[in-house]
Amino acid sequence: MFADRRYDYLDRFRFTVAYLSTPIYWVADIPTRVSLWIDDVFVSQRDLIEENAQLRQELLFAQRELQLLAGLASENSRLRDLQAASQTVQGRAVTAEIINVSNDPGARRVLINRGAHNGVFEGQAVLDAHGLMGQVVEVLPFTSWVLLITDSRHGTPVQVNRNGERAIARGSRSDVAGLELEFVPDTADIVVGDLLVSSGLGQRFPKDYPVAEVTSVVHDPGQAFAVIRARPLAQMDRTRHVMLVIPDDEVISSVPVPDDFLGAGPGELPVTEEVSEPTVSTNSGNDIEAERDTVPDDNALLVRDADEQETDMPTAGQQSADTEAAVTDSVNTEGTETAVESAEADETVMPEEDGPGPGEDLP
């Protein structure tokens, strides 16, 4: 058990034995498939005509929005060119089906019918027709486990669609599936009904996909942060068809903006998952410091993963930063000043960025 948790070599064993377990899942899925098949076969013509009409109408609406979108996309790319900002992660998608649900009440995981043989990889984002659903955590030969965003161990970097306010949406710890926004100050402009979209800061999930809708905002004077709950838009327990996002390689390599992190000093990795928390600094009081210490522990799993994934790119950025620092070694203070200036210049991209996030507390 401990070996499985600490080391990777058992994964290979798991992977091999999973060849044996796949048929069992296949058989267990038969009743569902039979009922779906029956639904497909025994359907009246009238129902089909109705459905057809409805689908046509939806298509019409979708096409109209698509036309608008084309205009917006070109405008957006022009604006981005002006800012010389990096492109967002969009990527293509392949479909998959959910064939099983974890029977552990404490965890929210589902099994999909795509695995290593279909090119699924760990950390791949999973969507359904309505929003972000989760990410792949374990890849088996023909199946893979997906951790849903409503799992209490999962944190999703999100931002409010209306004003770009950033936060981390964490799966709720209660029995009811939902999301909680963590460490959002009382002053944050988030109201009921706000749409939360993925901010793409974790570099796991594609940017701007709808994640959840805020259902309740409670300002408790006794607590340092607002209690904000949200309902995920993806139909976690009803949908069967999901999409796996295949990110475009060249796009990903251009995502990190190391200039921002020059101010953070060398030897520190930019912890993008935690970026939303500079709001902590706007809040006063020492008790918040204590809160801060507990943060990384909770999110350690995901943050660690993100770090591992990102080590290549940011270190490259840091190296360049280091060489720069070496060149301007004699005027060290000036160097940091320019770094701060560049960070200020990029303020339009990341308005609330303050250098060293709570990432330094990471275990």
């Binding site: 948790r5 974890s102 995981r109 209490s152 161990r153 710890r173």
Partner: protein, 162 residues
């Protein structure tokens, strides 16, 4: 000393069916009532033919369940081995029990194994602390046990498994 093995495939088949039942999707509200099929089948075989099915079998049965469920490798293996050990030491008494008494024992054993895996999961932060509603699974296991017992005994005698 021990007689020649016969009808091993019946044991394997019963385990396979148990695995199937273990992962068949349940509706949300019935989630907590899922009986511990594999554990029950294991207890039966350990009780009926302890010289054939023992702690080693229990370990591998548990490890396979771990892979099937995607849980931590070795968690179910450990709890099943413990179950097999307790059953081994009690099997002669268990055989004498009435159906009701056996159900009570199943309640205790399955409850213990569920509690143990819950503790492991909490201790290793694999899962968050939640309600203890999952123990309802032990209750439904105890409820199903008499029928399962009769069925498996029928199988064992019919195919002369030993």
């Amino acid at each position: 000393m021990t007689p020649r093995a016969n009808g091993i495939w019946v044991i394997i088949l019963s385990f396979l069916v148990a695995y199937l039942l273990e992962i068949v999707p349940f509706p949300e509200w019935a989630m907590h009532y899922r009986p511990a099929w594999v554990a029950m089948v294991l207890i039966y075989w350990v009780m009926a033919i302890p010289y054939r099915v023992g702690i080693a079998t229990a370990w591998f049965a548990g490890a396979f369940l771990d892979i099937l469920e995607g849980s931590l490798l070795g968690m179910n293996a450990l709890t099943f081995a413990l179950l097999a050990y307790i059953t081994l030491s009690l099997h002669q008494r268990l055989r004498m029990f009435s159906a009701l008494q056996q159900s009570g024992m199943i309640l205790a054993l399955v409850g213990l194994s569920m509690m143990l895996s819950y503790w492991i999961k909490i201790g290793l932060e694999e899962s968050s602390e939640g309600s203890l509603l999952f123990l309802l699974g032990a209750l439904s296991s105890a409820f199903i046990w008499p029928w399962l017992f009769v069925m498996l005994r029928h199988l064992r005698r019919g195919f002369d498994v030993h």
